[in-house]
Every structure is written in structure tokens, then in C-alpha cells.
Symmetry: C2
Subunit: 384 residues, 2 copies
DNA sequence: CGACTTACGAAGGAGCGCTTCATTAGTAGC
DNA sequence: GCTACTAATGAAGCGCTCCTTCGTAAGTCG
């Protein structure tokens, strides 16, 4: 049972203010009449609400649109630029950052190359540089940041501490939330990168609008992120999606089939081997195809487990190997058809490398909405 | 984004009425002042709300409690008996039914033995008898039923049609929701029985209050039900939890280890074999222990998959074999500790055979609450 | 330049919740 | 059996929020 608080008249106003903000966020500038119609309020009431929102800084008036019949109508827009959000993707070789307005519209992006075994402080400094870069590009300052959401490889506990990170040795046992909290004067959110990628795909990618989605990170390491009921599923200890730990799921070593394929020429750097195999398979090389088949065999086991357990609407393939989705998708589908009761759609990611930063932004927007648009968390705050 | 409807004054009243009903449902009869305090409303307003709820039939006055200081206070209670809910468990060998009031308090229970290969019409008739029995025991009539929730073995699709049922041949392809809808003059809900059992355990069993729970049905057949975010997780096609379909999870044949154990005396009826093995293991029979170890080995694979994927707060063992939880729990825990990152609590069901009917009732209560306590679904209806 | 269209703004009214205060119906003590 | 105390009741008056209605204003079109 949720809250047991009854409501006051002021609560009603609060509700209507939030409804108005929501209506404005969803679509561009709206006239007073349009707003009134969407919210179901009468015009005079809507006017009062709008005045209040303007006074608080949430909304501003824009010039009326010319060329319309009748008296020009006042138009209002949500001041998405009264604050900014940052998303960060901490990967093994790259740190990406993006800055967005409060609507999640991305205004700037940067990338900082790093090495997996860079020392901790150097990594943190690179994060700082990536974020500063975004701020500089969009001519904003750290004071305008409302929230920063970070996606990182590895398992993060509920408090934002790194429990486990195979790819980045220095990351282990780090109090990431604490360190980033010292660096930035705003709220810091930490999440697993696959979960954020899943978020991005359900918000603006191929799975847009779906409520239950399994995102598979296929690449040199394997990962999964779950969206359940339209929200990121973290699990009780923030360890959901770690099925690659289970030997029977055959995920952990699955990429080896691609790395050790006999078609790969000697001397190929190890990070390019899998890509070579996938490309060879695309061109019909039977040995490479054999390796891909074995890879998908293994991939399908863990995937089938997730599909059978969750029965999602869609499975999205992301990560480095998803560039070779043409080689993988049909094969994966065929195996799922054999194993599963109901086959979800199986699609490739459409967001590519920006998946995680974009998902971090979306995650931050969600979090912000929760804070703002949940009634009874005090009065609507003043927006600068 | 949820609704974009702004609110009226009447909406506020509706909100407060719902809050009051909630407060009354949660605890027994309350005085006007107590109600006012809990809802945060002033006494005069609370009085008005209470009068309205009385007029609509949702609430009634009870005699003031004697022996208190000061003027005796009016007391109100939720009229949980203004309607009734029925839960049904359609099993292979038994059909159980329970009748509850609108608070989910169980007032009557019945059981009808059936045979797995009884013809369809006989089974449906047995359901009718089970429900009529409950009505008779509690002196109510079918007209007082508001909702009936049915848990059944097998996979049910979103429309309440049986897609697959290994245990009950006649069940296959049946439009269960349709047939039951003809039998009872109220809303009919169909769910998989493991999911309802999971529901019961999170509402009034061992997992009370937990938000993410995996319920394992361990018995002659294997099943699983998931609670995610405090709600039953059905999946997009209502097929969530069917991991026993996956060979690698080693669930489907797991019970065979117990059935074919060499310790079981020749001539034991097949349905008692597993129970015998479990009992023998409890008393130290090394051959039986060996069989149990193999059984738990297999059980743990699928369970670990679910734990790694979902990271639940608790795993609850239910179903026939959970009576031997003392033999199973520690062994299962030990294996999960090896396989999983974070170990959830592992506990045995406390509700026993009534698990599914009780869960069906809880499911109906939830459904009813959704319908009643979601504002903006029209005005609060009149309760008879 | 006048007719038409559309939005604005002010006035009056109804519903809901709040506070305040005198009143009432019990118990406890003498 | 009477008085003091306690706690709830019921009525009156206030303020806020939303609604409807109307005359007025600011554009476009012919």
C-alpha cells in the first residue's frame, strides 16, 4: 500500500502544475488553450498554473507564432535549459561523456581514450576531462549540472561501490559513487553499462516503447541488461543480469570460438580476431561459419534461459559484435525457436557506440522525473 | 508518461475517499479522529468523506468502543463483506477453492478430488462444485461474487487460453477464461499456479514484504513463479518462468533422480517414490542421499540461472517436495554459493498446500485494488 | 476598411478543506 | 449523586482552486 496521505487544495494545484509540465515536456511550445485542452483544465485555471510555473522558472513564454487566424495566442515552453544532465560511459578503452538538457536532448559529446590498466587516478582524471569537455562544448559550467549518471563495466553494489571488474583491474573495490561525488557538485548515479544500454534501446532505440526487454551485450566480454515493466531491473543487490557467471549458460567463453578460429591469419591482434571471423563468415568462409555457429550455439543457451525465465517482448543485440548482426541474428533466432515457448522479437541495436552514454542520460532523466513528478515530495522546487 | 489529465475539486475528494478506504482496510475499525490523523485530513473534512463512503456502501459505523475516557468516538470499518472473492487451484488430482471477503480474509475452503485424465466437462463441473461448496459454507450466493481468480498448471496465454499442459491432457487448447466466464457471473482471472503461489508467499508467507522473489515449485513436475517489484511477472506472452523447457537448465528430468533411486522398495507406487527417497535421505541412507545430491545438482542449475539473471531477495521452495526442505535447503544453498555472485535467502514455503488458492485470492485482491484505487477511473462505484 | 476568427481578462459562483469554538457524552474521583 | 476532567461532536466562517460566462482585444481575410 502506497501513501496514506490525503490531499489539500494545494496538493491539487501541485498535481495540476506537474501535469502541465509534463504536457509541455512532451511536445514543443504550446498555447494556453492547447495546454488547457491537454490537461483538461479550464483556461483561466491553466493561466494561473502557467503564471506560477513561470514565476518558479520552470516554464517561459515564447513569441506567438505568426500567421494564424484570430488573436495571437500566448505560447509557453518547458525550460529544458534551466539545468543540464551528464551521462558517462566508462569503458575499458574509452571514456565517453554526453551532456543533455533536462529533456534528455544531447547537446555535446566527448571521448577520452584510456588503457585498461591505467592507474585509478588517471582514469578518474580522464572522466573529469571528458565531462569538462562537454561543459566547454556547450558553454556551461559545473554549477548548472543537476545530475550525472555513470555507466561502467563490472558489478556495482547498491551503494555505488565496484564489487567486481574483470576488464579494469584498478576499478576493483573502488567507492566509485564516493569519488565521483567529490568531483562533481551534483547528484551522482552509478549503473552497470549493459543496463544503461538496455535503457537507451527502450527509450530511443529499436525497442522503443517495449516494457520488457533483454539487452545482450555481445563483444569480447558478454553482458546483459534487463528492462522490466519499462524500468531498469537492478535486482536486490544490484547484480541482476550476470548470467555469464554460470558455466552451464556457456556465455563466459563463448567469444573464444570467434577469437581462435582457424581462418584468422597469424599475427592478427587479438582484439581484431573476432571481427575478422565474423567478416569471413559473412563472405561465406566455411571455417568461419563453423566458428560462428558454435559461438551462437553458446550464446543461445544463456539467451534462451533469459527468454524462458522472463518472456520479454524483445531481445536486443548490442555491443561490438552487433555490427555483424546480419551474421548472428537469424542464427540466434533459429536456436531460440527450438528452445523457447514464445519467441520474442530479436533485433540489433540501432544506437551503436553511443548506446551507454545515451542510456545514462535517459536514466538520469528518469531519475529526475521521479524526483520532480512524484507528488508529495514537498512543493515544486524553484528552477533557476 | 502517464496520464495528462489535470484534476478537479471532485478529483481531490476522490483521492481522499480512496485514501480513507485504504486506511480503513489496513487496520480494523477506526475512530474519526484516528482516520483524520492517518489520512492527514482535518476532522470535519474526514467526517464528510466518511459520510459519503457510508452512503456509497463502502464503509459502515460500528458501536463505539466502551471504557474510554471522554466522549465516545464514532468508529468506522471497511465493509469487507459487501462482496466476495474466490480463488481456485486447478491441480492434477485436486481442485481447491477458497472464498474470501474483499480484504482477502479467507472464510471458506473446499476441495474436490479429480483424476488427471478426467474428461474436460467433468473437470469443469468439479470446479463448479468446489466454488458452490464455498458459497454454501459461507452462506453467500454467486451474485455476491465480485471476482474469481484461477490458478492452473500449464501455460496460459494472455487471453486465458491453455497453450500447453503436460499434466492434464484435456486442458490443452481450452479457452479456460471463456468457459469459466460462462459459469460465473463475475470477472474471471486466469494465472499460472506457480505465479500465484509466489504471490501468496510474498503477501502472507515466508517472503512477506519482499519485492523480488523467485518461487520454485519442486515436486513431481518443476515450475517457477516470479515476483518482480512486488507484482506477479507474467512476461509479454504470459510465459515467464518456464525455464524447465531448457535442457541445459536440467530441470525437466531432475525429479527422476528421486523417483528411480535404488533405495525405493519395489512395488512403491510411482507417486510415492520421491517422497520415500527424501525420507530415506533424512534418515541417513547413503544411496538416497546420493540421489538427493544429484537432484539438487540439477535443481541448482536452473535456480542459479534465475538468481544470476534476476538477483532476487529470496528464493522460496514450495510444492510437494518442500515438505522435505530440511533435506534440500542447505544443499541448494551450498550450490548457489558456488555459482552466484550474491546469494539470496533460500527458504521453504510456509503456506503448504493452500499456497495456490491463497495466492489466487491475493491476486484477486490486488486486481480489485488496481480497479478501485486507481484514480481517474470514473467515480467511486456504489458498493452494495 | 469592415467582417471574421481566436484568444484574453475580469467577474461571479460552487466545491472542498481548514480553523475555531461552543457543546455534548462519557469516565474518574469525592 | 455531584463535580471535574477528557475527548469527540457539530456548526460557523474563511480561503483556495477550479469552473462558467461574458465583453474586449488583436490579429487575418476579402
Amino acid at each position: 500500500m502506497a501513501d496514506l496521505r490525503g490531499g489539500d487544495l494545494s496538493r491539487l494545484r501541485q498535481l495540476n502544475s506537474l501535469t502541465a509540465i509534463r504536457a509541455l515536456r512532451g511536445s514543443g511550445p504550446l498555447t494556453l488553450s492547447a495546454l488547457a485542452e491537454r490537461t483538461g483544465l479550464s483556461r483561466p485555471s491553466m493561466k494561473e498554473v502557467a503564471d506560477e510555473l513561470m514565476a518558479l522558472g520552470w516554464v517561459e513564454e515564447v513569441p506567438p507564432s505568426p500567421g494564424t487566424m484570430g488573436r495571437p495566442a500566448r505560447r509557453y515552453r518547458f525550460r529544458a535549459d534551466s539545468g543540464y544532465l551528464v551521462g558517462v560511459d566508462i569503458g575499458g578503452h574509452n571514456i565517453r561523456a554526453a551532456l543533455s538538457d533536462l529533456d534528455g536532448e544531447i547537446l555535446a559529446e566527448t571521448r577520452q581514450p584510456v588503457l585498461p590498466d591505467d592507474p585509478l587516478e588517471e582514469r578518474l582524471a580522464a572522466i573529469g576531462r571528458a565531462v569538462s569537455g562537454c561543459l566547454a562544448l556547450s558553454r556551461t559550467t559545473a554549477e548548472d549540472l543537476w545530475m550525472i549518471a555513470v555507466g561502467t563495466i563490472g558489478v556495482i553494489d547498491v551503494e555505488g561501490r565496484v564489487i567486481y571488474s574483470a576488464a579494469v583491474p584498478a576499478w576493483r573495490d573502488l567507492d566509485l559513487a564516493g569519488r565521483l561525488g567529490e568531483m562533481f557538485p551534483c547528484q551522482v548515479l552509478i549503473e552497470n553499462d549493459s543496463r544503461l544500454a538496455a535503457m537507451a534501446e527502450t527509450r530511443r532505440g529499436v525497442a522503443k516503447g517495449a516494457r520488457d526487454v533483454v539487452f545482450l551485450h555481445v563483444g569480447r566480454r558478454m553482458g546483459a541488461g534487463l528492462i522490466i515493466g519499462g524500468r531498469v531491473h537492478r535486482g536486490f543487490g544490484a547484480a541482476a543480469g550476470e548470467i555469464s557467471m554460470l558455466p552451464e549458460a556457456r556465455w563466459f567463453d563463448a567469444p573464444e570460438h570467434l577469437n581462435t578460429c582457424a581462418s584468422v591469419p597469424a599475427g592478427t591482434p587479438p582484439e581484431d580476431a573476432a571481427g575478422f571471423t565474423l567478416a569471413a563468415a559473412r563472405h561465406g568462409d566455411p571455417v568461419a561459419i563453423e566458428a560462428v555457429e558454435r559461438y551462437v550455439d553458446d550464446l543461445a543457451v544463456g539467451t534462451a534461459a533469459m527468454v524462458l525465465i522472463l518472456d520479454p517482448q524483445m531481445v536486443v543485440l548490442g555491443g561490438g559484435f552487433s555490427r555483424s548482426a546480419d551474421v548472428l541474428l537469424d542464427r540466434l533466432r533459429a536456436r531460440l525457436e527450438r528452445a523457447c515457448m514464445r519467441i520474442p522479437e530479436v533485433r540489433a541495436s540501432t544506437l551503436g557506440d553511443e548506446c551507454v552514454v545515451v542510456g545514462a542520460i535517459d536514466y538520469a532523466v528518469d531519475h529526475l522525473d521521479d524526483q520532480l513528478f512524484t507528488p508529495d515530495k514537498g512543493p515544486l522546487p524553484v528552477s533557476r
